[in-house]
Each structure stands twice: as structure tokens, then as C-alpha cells.
Amino acid sequence: MSVELDVFVGNTTIMDEEVYQLWLDGYTVNDAVKVRMEGGVMDECEASKDVLLSDTMDQYRTFQMCERLLHSPAKLANQLLFQIPPHRQIMLIERYYAFDDTFVREVLGKKLSKGTKKDLDDISTKTSVTLKSCRRQFDNFKRVFKVVEELKGPLVENIRQHFLLSDKLARDYAAIVFFANNRFETGKRKLQYLSFQDFAFCAGQLISNWTVGAVDNMVEDMDVDLDKEFLQELKELKILITDKDLLDQHKSLVCTALRGKTKVFIEMEGSFKNLSRGLINIAAKLTNTKDVRDFFIDLVEKFIEPCRSDRWSAADMKLYLTHYTNSAHILDTFKHQVVWDRYMGVVKSCIFKMYHD
């Protein structure tokens, strides 16, 4: 005796958020039933294991049928097959496009290609996110990437409109797309301490300051690529380290401002030239795609690590960078104030974000 067929269909599609999450997390039906049993849902309605199993199967089927629609969320709103209240639709979409930070950290900056997809099982073992869930997340990234790649206009807004995502999630996806497009290196050991949210923040900074769309959103170009002209102009900043006078002047201005305000003043004074050289060199090299990829690793190696070894506190760091940036404005012979601000604004906030253990 066995149940051959067992379905339950509601006029309003019934979806249990807990089961949805289990499904998204890639649990098999049996595992999901186990999790639910442990969760104590059985006590709620005098349910038995069979009831749970049947319910879980039903829900899984529903989700599978919905999945096709979730691939283009706009369809969910005007499809006729499932009657789902709007707030539920939003929940479905939001959760479907949600991802694990641990997983995304692994693929961040990698090419969203078949090759990467083949490595997903390794990532799955490493992150203990189920392979099924990894695939869904990866496919989501790829799908968003594909759609947005072709579109003009602001990246975040495009994602939000096409995938009906919340602002936060849309920004995260923008970061992922941006990283994937520019292939930023994030996997090196030295960068391991950085979380996805750190990178997402930096990506946000880069997108809103360093892309073409950042200066002029009427431009028929996308937010995905860095502003080539700007990168070219960054070369001009080299004068700050190549011109001896300027370098000394800059140093003395910064030191004057910092004196007495920090415990690590001596270290700051001592490493000023090195740090300044580091930051300016990063800027000057950004015209090379290869160096763009290494942007974050460079920041860590050339700036964050030296500071950390000198035991700067985060406040020290802030203080130093603020004065470092502002002092350049007082330099009479330094003419590239606009580029400097555009560069340092982003670098400053990125470093702030990245300066932690």
C-alpha cells in the first residue's frame, strides 16, 4: 500500500515561508521533513510525519513550478497560473534572489562562466552551502549579469526594475555584477579577511564615483565599466610623489595637522612617504586592466598592511586619510583637485571599510 499520487492545490497558492527557505537552501524533501520535525511544527496541529511529508512535497512542487516564473520576476505579477498575493510575490522574489554571503564571497570577481560553475561542488563543500543552492545562486548572478549587461542607465535601478528586488538586494547584485565584469581579485589569502559586505560597499563606492554613469547619468553607457577618461587622468596624480617639493610640502602639512592628535604620530610621520607612494601608484596604474583587478589586493598590501603593522587604530586611519586628502588642496602647485577628490573619496571610504581584522 502506497500513496501513488498526492496533491493539494489552493486557489490562493499556499506557501510556507519556512519550507520555501528549506527548498531554497537545497534540502531534499526528506531532510526538510527532518528539519521541520525538529523545529516542532508537528506539535502545532497534531500532525504526523506523513502529513509533514505530504505537505513538504506539495510545497516543493509548487516552488518548482514557480521557479520558471521567478527567473523573470516581472512575469510573476501578471502570470495567471498562480494566484499569489502581492506581498507574497515580493517575498518569493526577494528570497529567491537572496544569497549566502559565504558563497558569494567565493565567486566574487570570478567570471560567471561554465568553468566557474563546474567548480561549484568544491565551493559547496568549502562553504557547506548545498550544491543545489549554490547552483541557484550562481544562476541568479549569471541571469542578472546577462540582463543588465545589455542595458543602459544606472546599474542598481536596472536591477531593481527588472528583478523587482529591494534596494539593498539590488545594490548587492550591482556589486556582484560589477565585480564579475571587472574581474576584481578577491580570492587571495590576504583578502580573505574581507567579507562580501565589505566588497559590496566598495563596489557601491566605485559604481557611484568611478563609472561613466557616475558623472553624467544621461550618458548612453553603462555603470558596469570604469570611466576610462578618469583612469587616464589619474596618471596626473603622480606628481604628488615624483615632485620632491610637493611630497615634502604635503608631508609637513599632514604632520602639522596630526601632531598631538594621535598616539601613533611617530609611525605616521615615518611611513608617510611610503604610504603616499603606495596610494598614488595604485591610482597611476589603474589604466591597466590587470592592475584594476588587483585594486583591492594593492590597497591591502600597499596601505592597510603597513598601517596595521604599525598598530594604527581605525580612528587613526580615518584621521590620517582625512588630513592626507585635505592637505593636498592646500598645495599651490597641485592642480588636479577634482581628480584627486574623486580618487581619494573612494579610496578613503574603501580603506575605512576594509580596515578591520
Binding site: 498526492d6 495567471l80 497560473l81
Partner: protein, 1145 residues
């Protein structure tokens, strides 16, 4: 007469990719109606084509408009090969043919393909220009409104109820063995869908014609069913109740319908009416004088001096005995007896007899009816046990005594016993009926009179006077015989074959049903009732065997609401003169207590103390709103499996016939026990389904139990061993304790605290009279299957009862006898039904007794479960257990799934069982979960028994008075004018709230999504419910009937997620298509929704499956009750209105 149908194809969206190379589609559309086809241009390379076509115009007969659906086919253009069909949309344009329903059909329809399911959507606009047809010879019946709802629709008022209408049409099934056939299943399935759509249209038109001829303008409680008879064809049949309805809100312009549709063609026309083509010869032959209009009425008195269907003494007794021996003693009937159409056939001999003997001599037919009373049914099976041929003689004589006591089986017998009074009564009835007939003029009136059946399950207050009990009839037929005229035993049927073979078929089916209906009618009469309400018909087919079933509730209706002459009403009966209090009147017995059709235990009504009531009441109707109840109701189910040897043809039919009475009996016993166990005394909405499979029969009885305060409190259940020492007395007492505990728990659970005033403590008295019971029941009869049996104590007889006064405190003593271990099992299974978890209630009726303060949460659902039995040797006991568990587990699943809605009630739980294959059991359930306000319930129930009755009685007064004026003066116009005054005040708020309503919903969803600002259109939310109302809302417009039939097939079952995945998506698709059609009509809800058919077939080895689904319902516009608050105060009087709005807010 012509009408002009216009269709415009606007656009498509989400189309599938048909061209792999370009990932796009070159779509165009074919629009077909009748034989005319139009095409749109090809919209190249788009998945969201914009055709924006011209208006395609079809000039057609209105007859065709009713029959044919508009067919829209979306295709992919292909230059080199044949165009590929993407899918189809069938649009039933019937709703556009009512004067007041939808005016345009416009919206997105899912494009459906039998293989691929829904493939995108198409936006279509359809309009109809109809020229009024006043031709009385017309064959169309445009304008007759159809309602699935089994009560008077919310925004209408019934001015007259005309009575029963029925029709059936038959055709060849384009495909009956899909798996074995070599042809594309898609082609034949599409042919099938088209054919059934056509047949339903035709059927509806024919029923409409009958209604027009009767002078009505609407059919309420329209129930259409398909019989997929396999090789012998496809039957589409429908029954309904013809009414004249008045729209309530149309105060300023009343009676548009009556003007538009001139009623009642003269009788002669009725006879010639083409809708009755097949029957015509019979009719003419029997009534040769009916050619002139005035004659038919004259002819009647002379020829029908013994009323054709009044059960006169001798014949009915004979019929009852023939019930029992039918299957065993094939009689070769005199051919002419077959020809008689009871009611029209005017032979003075006994037509009733002929209905029973009519059944195929070889096919074996058993009628097994049943009255309400438990005691009656205890003996019912006995008569069938006699079907053992060896015992035949004995049993017949036995019947003399016992059958008279039996309700159902004894319908005839009991009538026979009834001496003088009833007989004179009947005579009077016929006389009055004949007199009345002078006024009305339809030949079809005869038909309505012939079967005073009503498919309605709830009635306007004052309509239902008394309820007798459930009457049912079943008959087993062999299907394949019809198509083999060469076989000897089809002889009798051949005589019906007047013209051709095809004409023979509907005639045959008609005769079958007529036979059943006659039986029902005689059962009702035996209960002293002149009408049957809550009437329904069903079939169960397995191979060539078909069980036809009909059931209803015998009742006495208030003649004032009937069309004159539509009932045989003995107005002289003293019992009708005395008005009964509305909250208990319907419980009062309609039969004569001195000549009871069965031995019932009567007491004086616990409510009014004036008249007698039975101790238990079973009905198929809904609980009347005015009934006084204590506590809450609950779903009660009896489930039964019976193994049957595989057999062919006659032997099979005989075997089934022999099993049926046993099953009915056991189901009844179970129901009774479970009712007692819940400390309740009445069942409403009783529906007994018996389904036949190759090697087993399944029986499922569902009903809603309730405690009627007018009826005596139910006694307990007493356990007794057959012989002392048979089982340890300890064991018995432990079981007894469990039962008593369960009863106590249930009392608590369902809050059954009958008003103390009349509540005499139920004193359970022990079954001392065991010996007597044994004897009475008749030990000579072998009882292989009944190990535990329920006896009623014989300490009282009905004669004594008549002298009992109110102080009579003896309660039923049910003795459950244990004579072996199986009986213990039975008791265990009795106790196994788990009560619903806290926060849940369940019922299978429209209204949940004890809950009325619904909040707006509504969730309709359909669930299907198929169980495969292992091939191990199963016993009946084992099977019962499996089947019971299946049903219980389903319920548990529902409770669990819907737990977020607590407190909530599952209403209208409709279980359907089937045996699709040898080892499969399929259970299909459709129901609605509705939330309610817990706080108010408790308050309400507390005050209910005291207050509700009087309050409601006051409230109800309005209606009957209004109606009385109507029917007596028969001047409808003035009456509706009067009512119009009251209504007109409501007009403006209603209209404005309508306008507010639909944009409101869209607006809400839009605003929710506004942050996302996607430009796509939102989909109208369409609520669905099997009930006739949506809580918290008010229906302001009925847009027409939804009646859809779909077939889905697959050849890639595994890829689609197996059988469950396949069916899950199909059901979801069906819902989607229903919603889309309703939305296109401008509606936002479907009420009285039901899934009539869900036939699932699979062939996993071939990776194939197929499913047929038929759904129906009423498309409506409803508006939130809160919008109505201002008008609610005027429309509803007193607290009911107030509390309803409270509940909604």
C-alpha cells in the same frame, strides 16, 4: 433568429518559443465559430505579439450562440511546413446572452494545449448583438439564467418556483480508450473537449427551453454531469430547479425578464417542441387528444382517475417486493409496460410497478431507498439479505412484517399499510391538482408535477414546512447492452427505438433516470411528503456496469411559493393549517404518527411541545437558517470498502446489486454511531456515494452533524457482549468507558449545551432486551458480514408513543453488541476518528452550524490522493481501515496546511471517491477554509439557543409576507414595485461601492508594487468558493455560469514530476483558466464552485498519463460588506446585519 457575434484579438503575451533558431514565434490567430473561420495577420518574431485585429463578425442563429463556444486557436506560422498549433481558448459566450449579465467578455485568457498545458495568454474582446426572438417555435432559450447555486441567488428574489427540469444528451465518445488507440491523443482529446463544450451548450439550451415553457426565467441549482460510458458513448445530463427570479436591486425597472421572455407556449407547442424530439412519439401516442390546446387538461381527469403516480395499495406493495427479488428473478416484461412514461402514460394500471421492473431483466437492478430513521434502516438490509435466492420465498413473507417497518425499502409497503386517511388525502390532492391545472397551461407542467423535486438545498424562510427524511434510490445497469440490439435481453429497449439507434440512446438513459426518480418519489410519498428537496443524481461507472444513484430529502413545502399544480399538495391536511414555529417546524414529522412508514420513536417537539418530532433527523439539505441548534456542527463520515469478485456482465451486476444494500446499511450504522458519539441528533447535507471498481465497492457517506434543540437528546451507546463470558466484562467496560469519555469530550468540543429547559438528562438504559432484539431482527437470516450490529431497544412501540407526553424521558439506548474480535475492531474504528485540532471545525454544508461571524479569510482548495493497494490478500476489514485512514489523513493534512488560518472552519468538504483501476483508490476533495472571529462565536453561542430563534423569526417575517402577496395576487409587477421602494434607497450606495470596489483591489496591489514600479498589468484577484456566498462581501451581480471541461495528457510523465507533478500543474491550470474567464466577464469571484469530475488515468510504463476535469460555478461580482455598511442597516434588520459587518471589519 440571428444574432451577431463580434470578436477582436488584441494581443498575446508570454508565448512559448516555437522557432528554436530565433528563439521567437511568428504567431497568428484563427477565430472560429460554427463553420466560419477568420484569421489574423501573422505577427512575426515576437513572444508578445500585438495583433490588434479588426472586429471579426459572425452572423449566427441564437441557437448556435447557445450551443457553440467561440474557438480561438493560436498558431505559429511556418512557411515550409504545416503551421504548429500553440494552443486554444474556448470561450463560452452564454453569459453574454442574458439581458442583465455581462455585456462584454474582455481579458487575458490562458492559451491551453492538451499536451503542454498553458502556453502564454491572449487578450480577446467578445461582444454579442442579439435580436430578440419572440417566435414561440424557437429552439433557443437565450435569456434563461443558470445558477449552480443551490439556494435563491443573493441579489434575486424568487417569485415562483416552478419545479424540476432535466435533460440529457448523448453522443459517441471521440476517444474512449486513449492508450490503446493509434492516433494522436491530442487530436482526439481536442475533439472531445470541443464535443463536450458543444453538448453542454445544447443541454443548457434545451433545459432553458423547458424553463421558458414552464414560464420561468431561471434555473437554480443547475447540476450538470458527464457520464463517460466508454464504448457506449458519452452522456451529458443536467438537472435543476426552474424558477422565476426577480432582481432585487432593479427597483426602478422591475420585471425586465418577464417582458423580454414571453413565457409559456401553449401546451400544443410544448408537445411539438423540438427539444423533446425523442419523446414526442410517446407523448403523442399516449395523448392523442393533445393536439388542440384545450384538450390535454380535459383528457387527464378521465384517463388518470387513479392518479398515475400515487402509490395505491396493491401496486406499491408489489413494487417493494420486486425490489428485493429483482436481480434474481429476471422477468420478461410485457413489452408495453416499458413504453410507459410515468406521469404521461395514462394507463390506469400500476405504472410505478413498471419503473421497477423496467430494468434490464438481465442486468440486475436493485433499488435501495432509505428513510431518515435509524430504526427503519436497521431492517432495510434484512430485506436485501433475502436476495439470496434460496431464501427468496421466506424473505418475501418476511418482508410483510419487516419491510413495512422499513423506511426506504418499505416505501411501497408502508404506503400500502396506510389505510384510509392517506388514501383520501391523495384523492383530494389529485382533485385539487386537476382543478388548479386549469389556470396554467403548459404541457410540461405534467413533468414538473410528475417529479416534485428541487435541487435546492436551502430555502427562503417559510418555504420548507416539514422534513421527512432522506430518500435514495440506486440501480445497477449494464451499459454495453444498448449497443447490441442482437442480444435477446435488450428487447425491451428496442421497443423504445422509434427512429434510429442514436435516438434510442437518450431515450434509454431517460428511462433509467425516470425509473429512479419514480422510486424516489414513491419513497417520499411513503414518508407522507409531496416533495423532494436537496435532490441530486450521480453515477459510478466501471467497465460496463453503471450504478445510478439519486437521493434527496422528502419534505413538505409551503404551497404558496410553488407554481400552482407543481406539487400534489393535500391542502386539507390539518397539519398544514397550524403554523409551526420556524425554528423547529421543519423537524415536525410530515407523516401520520398513527400510520408511520417505519417504527420511529417520536416525542413532542422539545422546542414548541406542540407536535411530534423524530429522535433523529437525516437530510440532504443545508441546515435551515432559522433552525435552533445547540453548539457547533461537525463533519461526520462513514467509510466502507467491500471486496467483490471480479466478474463480467450480468453476474457482475448481480453481485453489485447484492452488495449495495449491505453497504447502505453499514454506512448508515456507522453514521448513526458516529452521530451518537458526538452527542448530536441530526445530519444535514448527507451525501452517500457508492463507487464501483473491478474488485471492490467503495462507500463514502458525508454529512454535517448537529444538535437540534427541537429533537430529543441522543442517548449514549451501550456495549454488550453477545453472551456473558464471551469477552471479559472488564474489557467491555473499558470500551464502554472509552465511548462514554469520547462522548463527553465531544460534547465539550462542540459546545453542546442544550437549553436546560428541555434537556432531560439522557439516561442510557441498558440493552436488557437483547433477546427480544435478536428475535425481532430475525435470526434465520444469515448475517455473514454484520458482526457488530446496532439495535434499538424494543421496549417502546410506536403505538405507545402516540400517547407519550413530554414527561417521557426515555432515550435511545443503542446497544453495540460484541460477539467477536472483529466487532472490537469496529468499535475501535468508530473511535478512531480524530476530532479536528483546536481552532478547526469542519462541515460539508453551506453553513457551519454555530458559526456565523466569518471574517474575510477564504481559501478554496482541491486535493487528490490516490492510494495503491498492495496485492496482498486484503480483507474487508483491512480495506476499511486503509480507506478510513486515507480519509482521516487527508483531513489531517488539510488542518496542517491551513493552520495559519486558525480559527477557521473547513466548509463544504466534498469528498469524491473512485476506483480508477483495480488496486487504486482515488479520493478527491474540494472545500473552502474560512476564518471566523472566535470571540464573537462564544458570545453568540451562549445567547443563541435563547435569543436566536425569536430574533430570526422576526427577521424572516419580512420575506414570506412579501412573497405571499406575490403569489396570491400573481401580479408580480405590483409586488416588485412595493419591494422596489425599499430597495431604491439602497441603490446609490450599492452602485458607488461597486465602482469603488474593483479599482480598489487593483489599486492595492499596484501600490504595493509601486516601489518596484514594474509597468506590467496586475491580474484581478478572483476568489473561489464552493459556497453560495463569500464572507464579508455581498454579491451584486451574477455574470453567468462557468462550466468548463479540460483534458490534459502527457507522454513525458517522469519529466513533469511524476503523476503528482502532472496533476498538480493541471489543477492549477484549471483554476487559472476559471479565474481568467471570470475576470474577463468582469467578475471577481466564483461561488458555488465545484469540481464535478476528475478522472485520472496513468500508464507509468509508457510514461503517459491523462486527466479529465470538469468544473462549474457562478461568476459573480461581489463587493466588500464594509462598503455596504450604510445600506446594510436598511437592508438587514437588527443584529444579524450588525454582527456581520462587525465580522467583516
Amino acid at each position: 433568429m440571428p444574432g451577431k457575434l463580434k470578436a477582436k484579438i488584441v494581443a498575446g503575451r508570454h508565448l512559448p518559443v516555437m522557432d528554436r533558431a530565433s528563439d521567437l514565434t511568428d504567431a497568428f490567430v484563427e477565430v472560429k465559430f460554427g463553420n466560419t473561420t477568420f484569421k489574423t495577420d501573422v505577427c512575426p518574431k515576437s513572444l508578445n505579439p500585438q495583433w490588434n485585429s479588426e472586429w471579426f463578425k459572425f452572423e449566427v442563429d441564437d441557437e448556435d450562440l447557445q450551443d457553440e463556444p467561440l474557438q480561438i486557436t493560436v498558431l505559429d506560422h511556418d512557411t515550409y511546413s504545416a503551421n504548429d498549433a500553440i494552443g486554444k481558448v474556448y470561450i463560452d459566450i452564454d453569459p453574454l446572452l442574458y439581458s442583465e449579465a455581462a455585456s462584454v467578455i474582455s481579458g487575458w485568457f490562458p492559451i491551453y494545449d492538451t499536451i503542454h498545458g498553458i502556453r502564454g495568454e491572449i487578450n480577446v474582446i467578445v461582444k454579442v448583438e442579439l435580436f430578440n426572438d419572440l417566435n414561440r417555435f424557437r429552439q433557443s432559450s437565450c435569456g434563461v439564467k443558470f445558477f449552480c447555486t443551490t439556494c435563491i441567488p443573493q441579489c434575486y428574489r424568487a417569485t415562483l418556483v416552478h419545479g424540476f427540469v432535466e435533460e440529457l444528451v448523448v453522443n459517441e465518445d471521440p476517444e474512449y480508450q486513449w492508450i490503446d488507440r493509434i492516433r494522436t491523443p491530442r487530436a482526439s482529446n481536442e475533439a472531445r473537449q470541443r464535443l463536450i463544450s458543444l453538448m453542454s451548450g445544447e443541454l443548457q439550451r434545451k433545459i432553458g427551453l423547458k424553463v421558458l415553457e414552464m414560464g420561468g426565467n431561471a434555473v437554480v441549482g443547475y447540476l450538470q454531469c458527464f457520464d463517460l460510458e466508454g464504448e457506449s458513448g458519452l452522456v451529458v445530463r443536467a438537472i435543476g430547479t426552474a424558477c422565476t427570479l426577480d432582481k432585487l436591486s432593479s427597483g426602478s425597472a422591475p420585471n425586465t425578464n418577464t417582458h423580454m421572455h414571453p413565457n409559456t407556449a401553449p401546451a400544443s407547442n410544448a408537445c411539438n417542441s423540438p427539444s423533446k424530439d425523442g419523446k414526442e412519439p410517446v407523448f403523442v401516442e399516449d395523448l392523442p387528444s393533445s393536439s388542440g390546446p384545450p384538450t390535454p387538461f380535459r383528457a387527464l381527469p378521465t384517463s388518470s382517475s387513479p392518479p398515475p403516480f400515487s402509490p395505491s395499495k396493491p401496486c406499491s406493495r408489489q413494487s417493494s417486493s420486486s425490489d428485493t427479488d429483482l436481480s434474481l428473478t429476471p422477468k420478461t416484461e410485457e413489452p408495453h409496460s416499458v413504453r410507459c412514461r410515468p406521469g404521461i402514460f395514462l394507463c390506469p394500471s400500476s405504472p410505478i410497478l413498471s419503473t421497477d421492473t423496467l430494468s434490464l431483466p438481465g442486468s440486475g437492478s436493485v433499488g435501495c431507498g432509505r428513510g431518515s430513521n435509524p430504526r427503519a434502516t436497521t431492517s432495510a438490509p434484512l430485506s436485501s439479505i433475502q436476495s439470496d435466492s434460496a431464501l427468496l420465498r421466506k424473505s418475501v413473507s418476511f418482508t410483510e412484517d419487516l419491510l413495512l417497518a422499513a423506511s426506504g425499502m418499505g416505501s411501497g409497503g408502508s404506503a400500502g399499510k396506510e389505510a384510509g386517511p392517506l388514501r383520501t388525502l391523495l384523492r383530494q390532492q389529485t382533485q385539487t391538482a386537476l382543478e388548479q391545472r386549469g389556470a396554467s397551461s403548459s404541457g410540461l407542467l405534467l413533468n414538473a408535477r410528475e417529479f416534485p423535486f428541487f435541487t435546492l438545498t436551502s430555502f427562503p424562510p417559510g418555504f420548507l414546512l416539514h422534513v421527512g427524511g432522506v430518500v435514495s434510490a440506486r440501480s445497477v445497469k449494464l451499459l454495453d447492452r444498448i449497443h447490441n440490439p442482437a442480444l435477446g435481453n435488450t428487447r425491451s429497449y428496442k421497443l423504445l427505438d422509434w427512429n434510429s439507434v442514436t435516438a434510442d440512446e437518450p431515450e434509454t438513459r431517460d428511462a433509467w433516470w425516470e425509473e429512479i426518480r419514480q422510486e424516489i418519489k414513491s419513497h417520499a410519498r411513503a414518508l407522507g411528503c409531496h416533495a423532494v428537496v436537496g435532490y441530486s443524481e450521480s453515477t459510478s461507472i466501471c467497465e460496463e456496469v453503471c450504478i445510478l444513484s439519486a437521493s434527496g430529502t422528502a419534505a413538505i413545502l409551503n404551497p404558496r411559493y410553488m407554481r400552482e399544480g407543481c406539487l400534489d399538495i393535500g391542502c386539507t391536511d390539518h397539519r398544514f393549517e397550524e403554523p409551526s414555529p420556524p425554528n423547529c417546524g421543519f423537524c415536525h414529522i410530515p407523516y401520520d404518527e398513527l400510520n408511520m412508514p417505519f417504527p420511529a420513536q417520536l416525542t413532542y417537539c422539545y422546542h414548541c411541545r406542540r407536535q411530534k418530532v423524530p429522535d433523529v433527523l437525516f437530510t440532504t439539505i443545508d441546515l435551515p437558517s432559522e433552525a435552533a441548534v445547540a453548539g457547533k456542527g461537525c463533519l461526520i463520515q462513514a467509510r466502507l470498502c467491500r471486496l467483490k469478485k471480479k466478474a463480467q456482465g450480468e453476474a457482475n451486476a448481480t453481485a453489485i446489486s447484492n452488495l449495495l444494500p449491505f453497504m447502505e446499511y453499514e454506512l448508515h450504522t456507522q453514521l448513526m454511531n458516529k452521530l451518537k458519539l458526538r452527542s448530536m441528533n441530526a445530519l444535514f447535507g448527507l451525501h452517500i456515494q457508492i463507487s464501483v471498481g473491478e474488485n471492490m465497492l467503495l462507500g463514502l457517506a458525508s454529512a454535517t452533524g448537529v444538535y437540534l434543540t427541537a429533537l430529543p437528546a441522543p442517548g449514549g451507546i451501550q456495549i454488550a457482549g453477545k453472551t456473558p463470558g464471551d469477552l471479559s466484562s472488564e474489557h467491555i467496560s473499558s470500551i464502554q468507558k472509552r465511548i462514554n469519555d469520547t462522548i463527553a469530550v465531544n460534547k465539550e468540543l462542540y459546545q453542546i449545551n442544550p437549553p436546560k429547559l428541555f434537556a432531560l438528562d439522557p439516561e442510557v438504559f441498558c440493552g436488557i432486551n437483547m433477546e427480544l432484539a435478536e428475535e425481532g431482527v430475525g435470526s434465520p437470516i444469515p448475517e455473514p458480514r454484520h458482526r457488530s450490529r446496532l439495535f434499538r431497544s424494543h421496549s417502546e412501540s410506536s403505538d405507545e408513543l402516540s400517547e407519550l407526553d413530554l414527561s417521557h424521558g426515555k432515550k435511545d439506548a443503542f446497544v453495540l453488541e460484541i460477539d467477536d474480535t472483529d466487532a472490537v475492531e469496529d468499535i475501535h474504528s468508530l473511535l478512531i476518528d480524530a476530532p479536528p485540532p483546536t481552532g478547526f471545525y469542519s462541515c460539508n454544508t453551506e453553513n457551519m452550524p454555530g458559526i456565523s461571524n466569518w471574517t474575510s479569510g477564504v481559501q478554496m482548495f482541491t486535493s487528490v490522493r490516490v492510494l495503491r493497494l498492495s496485492n496482498a490478500n486484503l480483507t474487508n476489514q483491512g480495506l476499511n481501515k486503509i480507506f478510513t485512514d486515507l480519509c482521516e489523513n487527508l483531513l489531517k493534512s488539510f488542518y496542517f496546511k491551513l493552520r495559519s488560518m486558525i480559527p477557521c472552519c473547513l466548509c463544504h468538504l466534498n469528498f469524491t471517491v473512485a476506483v480508477p483501476e483495480e488496486e487504486l483508490i482515488q479520493v478527491t476533495v474540494t472545500a473552502v477554509a474560512m476564518t471566523y472571529d472566535k470571540e464573537q462565536t462564544q458570545e453568540k453561542t451562549a445567547e443563541k439557543p435563547v435569543n436566536k430563534g425569536s430574533l430570526e423569526a422576526e427577521e424572516q417575517l419580512q420575506f414570506p409576507l412579501e412573497l405571499c402577496a406575490d403569489s396570491s395576487s400573481s401580479n408580480i409587477q405590483t409586488a416588485s414595485k412595493i419591494s422596489g421602494v425599499g430597495e431604491s434607497t439602497n441603490m446609490s450606495p450599492r452602485v458607488s461601492s461597486l465602482e469603488r470596489c474593483s479599482p480598489l483591489q487593483e489599486g492595492r496591489s499596484r501600490s504595493l508594487r509601486s516601489s518596484r514600479s514594474f509597468g506590467g498589468s496586475s491580474v484581478t484577484v478572483v476568489k473561489m468558493t464552493p459556497l453560495s456566498f463569500l464572507p464579508g462581501t455581498r454579491i451584486i451581480k451574477y455574470l453567468g455560469i462557468i462550466n468548463m471541461f479540460f483534458i490534459r495528457e502527457t507522454t513525458s510523465l517522469r519529466e513533469e514530476g511524476g503523476v503528482s507533478g502532472f496533476l498538480h500543474s493541471f489543477i492549477a491550470e484549471v483554476f487559472a483558466m476559471v479565474r481568467a474567464h471570470v475576470a474577463a466577464l468582469g467578475g471577481n469571484a466564483v461561488v458555488s464552485y465545484s469540481m464535478k469530475e476528475c478522472v485520472f488515468m496513468e500508464n507509468p510504463n509508457k510514461n503517459q498519463a491523462q486527466c479529465l476535469i470538469n468544473v462549474s460555478g457562478d461568476a459573480v461580482i461581489c463587493i466588500s460588506e464594509t462598503d455596504q455598511e450604510s445600506s446594510a442597516s436598511t437592508a438587514n434588520t437588527g443584529q444579524t446585519g450588525g454582527s456581520e459587518t462587525d465580522g467583516a471589519t
